[in-house]
């Protein structure tokens, strides 16, 4: 198998967590709904350069902070979505918002009927960062000040792999600019947190929220123990 061809669902990528005893395999895999490892084809990456030609393995240091959403206080007003897009992009859009509430509203008062509104937020994942790892252009890096995983628009080609890679589907490719857009933590002063009228959003010291937040799609992630891409550190 070519070195860049082995990509597995993120359920397998926390093998290290399982090995260290931090998580029971059955719990996590059960949550994912994945019975075992699955190999995805790579035809979509036919344009990717050989990984050995990449300048750096994207190992991103942990972010300093992360958004924490408290569903018990969320009232579904979506002012967070408006603040995110109006104050960053000059236009209001739920679709482009880097905090995603709209798509969960119907579940709150219709299908689930429990009135719990879940806002999907960027976990500012620790290494291996699914979106950064998946980006064929290495366009997702850690911001020097906040550690937020941010898109370098000079490198981004709008291919959308990052959006598919993110297990929480919080990345959107802007159909107008053709650039990926994701949470930047607004340079350390998140607009959504400031805008929230009930304190449902907090900006806290980074903590790993991946395991406590159910993914919404499989995502894509290299297996560190079989991918030559990860081999420099993971042999």
């Amino acid at each position: 198998m070519a070195e860049h061809e082995i990509l597995l669902p993120v359920g397998v990528d926390v093998e290290a967590e399982i090995q260290s005893g931090g998580l029971s395999r059955r719990t996590f895999v059960g949550t994912m709904g994945v019975a075992g490892a699955t190999v995805f084809g790579l035809s979509m990456f036919s344009g990717v350069q050989s990984l050995s030609a990449m300048t750096k393995t994207p190992i991103l240091m942990d972010a300093k902070g992360v958004l924490l959403h408290d569903a018990s206080r969320c009232v579904g007003c979506r002012r967070c979505e408006m603040a995110c897009t109006e104050f960053n992009d000059g236009a209001a859009s739920s679709y482009l918002s880097r905090i995603k509430v709209n798509r969960n509203l119907a579940a709150s008062s219709g299908v689930n009927d429990d009135y719990e509104v879940v806002a999907d937020t960027c976990k500012q994942c620790p290494h291996p960062v699914p979106c950064a790892e998946a980006c064929p252009k290495g366009a997702i890096r850690a911001d020097a000040k906040t550690g937020a995983r941010i898109v370098d628009e000079t490198l981004c080609v709008g291919c959308g792999v990052c959006a598919v890679a993110c297990p929480w589907a919080v990345i959107t490719v802007n159909p107008t600019t053709h650039k990926s857009t994701k949470c930047t933590l607004c340079d350390g002063n998140p607009e959504c947190v400031r805008a929230c009228p009930t304190g449902a959003l907090k900006f806290v010291k980074w903590r790993d929220l991946r395991l406590t937040t159910k993914p919404v799609q499989p995502g894509i992630m290299a297996d560190p123990f079989t991918s030559a891409y990860c081999a420099p550190c993971h042999t």
Binding site: C77, R78, L105
Partner: protein
């Protein structure tokens, strides 16, 4: 043509007869009649002759919002639906209003409005995904309830969301609208209803509109400038209905009141996980704005059953209460229910004494709360409208103290009377305080079952004029004069009328063809500030914005009336212009405008230029407050012209603008007008009120019809020309 922000620039027109849709340029066609109601009135004026009936295919149903819809302008989630009214005796123009998230999604899909015309040959729904518009056969889809056409609103919404995805917003009718029940709604988001028009959708065979949008609403101004203005608005906002004084003593407030700011230490959304304390809510704490309101219509007992508060897009105030009452399931409904105010209406048809008879306090509290849940589900799923309380009050009137012998029995056939009275029948359930009465009542009304069902379902005036007592005396005059029914005119009730501002409130309620749905003035009277503070703020704030001095003299505290004066005429005119503007910008008139704020350091002053600033920055079409209010005056006067055209008479003074008998002091023995103990007025004072109000608006004194000069000043020359040829111009 300049490029503006705010508006998308595209309005959708759907012809259900030909099953085609076209795109119109919003600002080419509706630049001076935008909205919302501005556009709604213009479409009706241009396209719907006065002879058109509400259920005719040629009637238009205009879903509108505004340039601020979908943005972070606070409290901007409204949809305004304009058409000719099936409730009104002369089928005059009226609008329904619903909140939720429908209009925001429509803006994201790229639409400034949706004009529906024609009638589909078979039941359909619209599926709009950005600029892709499909007219979909209902028969091709089912819901949890079975067929889509025939399903309630909940199952319909679920089915369309399942089809179109989790971001989809749906506006739908229930069985009531399908059955052409006049007292029916169009509803979005399971609890936000627009009253009085469900049957128009039903008549067009249009079951629902589902909409998904992936676009953006452009803000014209620089990002930082917009952010600064939003910050300014969020600094000045109060609680629900412009409450700026808390309902219980708080360390930050020198006043307390009975205004709708209920948060306090020890008051929890008790069913949240974990419970959420609403707390002190200092007005400078932006992260507590959404905790302030906590309006618990069922009372304190419901607090422990509150999961959270809810409401419309971009609104931080959250006036809906989301309850979870597990014991409600025994009545065959979901335990979770959210709504506000008269949205909880189904329970109102019960006699509460009968509901709680023989129960301990705890049992009574719980059953009372269950009645809210049952009532909401009955009405919101069937899609019934309560005509702002008329249905409930009307029911109690006809049932009376003799179980319907006087007013129901003479008007129903003998076999129906027997059925109504049988054991386990609807009267028996009512007498027993059995909450199944609510469901049976809804079934009769939504299905127009029997003569009673038709009476409840239909337009009020024909119904009450057709019914009579056993001696043949018509019900109408008795019903209209009854102090408990609180009928206003032309089939609609009071809604913030003399009880909120005396003559100002009455002028506001009289100005439309349904209950006014206008809170521009009543909110301020109920904001919680002492009357003298309100007067001085009004004096300052209006004069600062270019209005004549002395607006404070327009204020009558709630439940009082003092003699008419010129300031009151100005206040009524301003309140109506602002309501049109809220209905046309997309902002919520249950919140805006903000004459007051909760900030002591500002002397509690709000800022009535905020809406014009938000409008100017979002669109790039700059207007100061007076220019902005003139737009609203144009829309309101066009509404007046439409009314005159529907009436076929310009004598609005006598045919449209008269008070109900119960508003006049002479019908209340022992009461004296203007003594501060009541809100009644005298015929002479009302004549003066109309004189001053017409003068303020530029309407003819004798008739209350706009003059040519007024029409032309407002850019409505085409209206004056048409009315002149019809001899409807003074």
């Amino acid at each position: 043509m300049a490029t503006y922000g705010g508006w998308t620039g595209k309005t959708l027109r759907v012809d259900l007869t030909t099953r085609t849709s076209t795109v119109e340029s919003t600002l080419d066609k509706y630049k001076d009649f935008w909205g919302g109601t501005g556009m709604g009135y213009k479409v009706l004026w241009d396209e719907v002759p006065a002879s058109t009936k509400p259920f005719d295919p040629e009637n238009r149903l205009i879903f509108g919002w505004g340039p601020l819809t979908g943005t972070g302008a606070p409290c901007g989630g409204r949809t305004c639906i304009t058409s000719i009214s099936p409730q009104h005796t002369k089928n005059a123009v009226a609008s329904g209003h619903m909140g939720g998230h429908f209009s925001a999604e429509a803006k994201f899909a790229g639409w400034d409005g949706i004009i529906i015309q024609g009638k589909a040959s078979t039941p359909v729904y619209l599926a709009i995904r950005d600029d892709d518009v499909q007219i979909v056969e209902c028969a091709e889809h089912s819901s949890a309830g079975g067929k889509l056409w025939g399903s309630g609103i909940y199952a319909t919404t679920d089915a369309i969301v399942k089809q179109m995805g989790g971001s989809c917003q749906v506006a739908a009718i229930g069985q009531a609208g399908e059955n052409l029940v006049v007292q029916s709604v169009i509803m979005t988001g399971y609890s936000h209803s627009a009253g009085g028009q469900g049957s128009i959708m039903g008549a067009k065979n249009l079951k629902a509109i589902g909409i998904v949008g992936t676009g953006a609403v452009q803000i014209s101004a620089d990002k930082k400038e917009w952010r600064s203005l939003i910050d300014n608005a969020m600094a000045l906002i109060g609680s629900n209905n412009q409450a700026v004084v808390p309902n219980s003593p708080q360390p930050w407030s020198e006043y307390t009141s009975n205004a709708r700011w209920y948060a306090a230490k020890g008051k929890y959304w008790g069913a949240a996980n974990p419970p959420v304390e609403t707390g002190i809510c200092d007005p400078h704490d932006r992260q507590s704005v959404g905790l302030r309101c906590f309006k618990s219509d069922p009372g304190k007992f419901a607090e422990q059953f509150t999961v959270r508060m809810d409401g419309c897009h971009s609104c931080p105030v959250r006036c809906h209460q989301a309850l979870d009452v597990p014991t409600a399931k025994k009545w065959g409904v979901k335990s979770t229910a959210t709504n506000t105010c008269t949205g909880w209406w189904g329970r109102g048809v019960m006699d509460n004494n009968k509901v709680i008879a023989g129960l301990s306090k705890q049992e009574a509290d719980l059953k009372n709360l269950e009645s809210y849940v049952v009532g909401k589900h009955m009405t919101d799923d069937l899609g019934l409208h309560n005509n702002y309380g008329t249905t409930e009050r009307g029911w109690k009137f006809i049932y009376g103290t003799d179980k319907g012998v006087t007013w129901i029995q003479p008007n129903v056939p003998a076999d129906e009377w027997t059925t109504l009275n049988k054991a386990g029948g609807v009267f028996d359930l009512y007498e027993k305080g059995d909450l199944n009465f609510i469901k049976e009542f809804g079934r009769l009304m939504a299905g127009q079952v029997g003569e009673l069902g038709k009476f409840l379902a239909g337009s009020v005036d024909p119904a009450i004029d057709a019914w009579h007592n056993a001696a043949g005396d018509p019900m109408g005059p008795v019903y209209r004069a009854d102090n408990s029914v609180m009928y206003w005119s032309n089939g609609y009730p009071k809604h913030h009328s003399p009880e909120n501002g005396g003559d100002v409130g009455s002028l506001i309620n009289t100005g439309y063809n349904r209950d006014a749905q206008n809170h521009s003035w009543s909110n301020y009277l109920s904001c919680g500030l002492p009357t003298e503070v309100q007067r001085s703020i009004a004096d300052y704030e209006f004069e600062r914005n270019g209005y004549p001095a002395g607006m404070g003299a327009a204020i009558d505290p709630n439940n009082t009336c003092s003699p008419m004066n010129p300031a009151k005429a100005r206040a009524a005119k301003w309140a109506q212009a602002r309501k049109e503007l809220m209905d046309s910008t997309g902002l919520c008139n249950w919140m805006w405008p903000w004459i007051a704020s909760p900030l002591k350091e500002r002397g509690y002053r709000g800022d009535i230029s905020l809406e014009s600033k938000l409008f100017s920055l979002a669109t790039g079409r700059t207007m100061n407050t007076l220019e902005f209010d003139l737009e609203g005056e144009r829309f309101y006067t066009l509404q007046r012209a439409l009314t005159i055209r529907s009436f076929g008479s310009m004598d609005m003074r006598n045919l449209h603008d008269q008070l109900p008998a119960w508003a006049l002091v002479g019908n209340h023995p022992g009461k004296v007008a203007f003594d501060g103990s009541n809100y009644y007025t005298t015929p002479e004072d009302w004549d003066l009120a109309l004189d001053l109000y017409y003068a303020e608006l530029g309407y003819d004194k004798a008739t209350g019809a706009p003059t040519r000069a007024t029409y032309e000043k407002l850019g409505l020359k085409f209206v004056a020309d048409e009315l002149e040829t019809a001899h409807l111009l003074p």
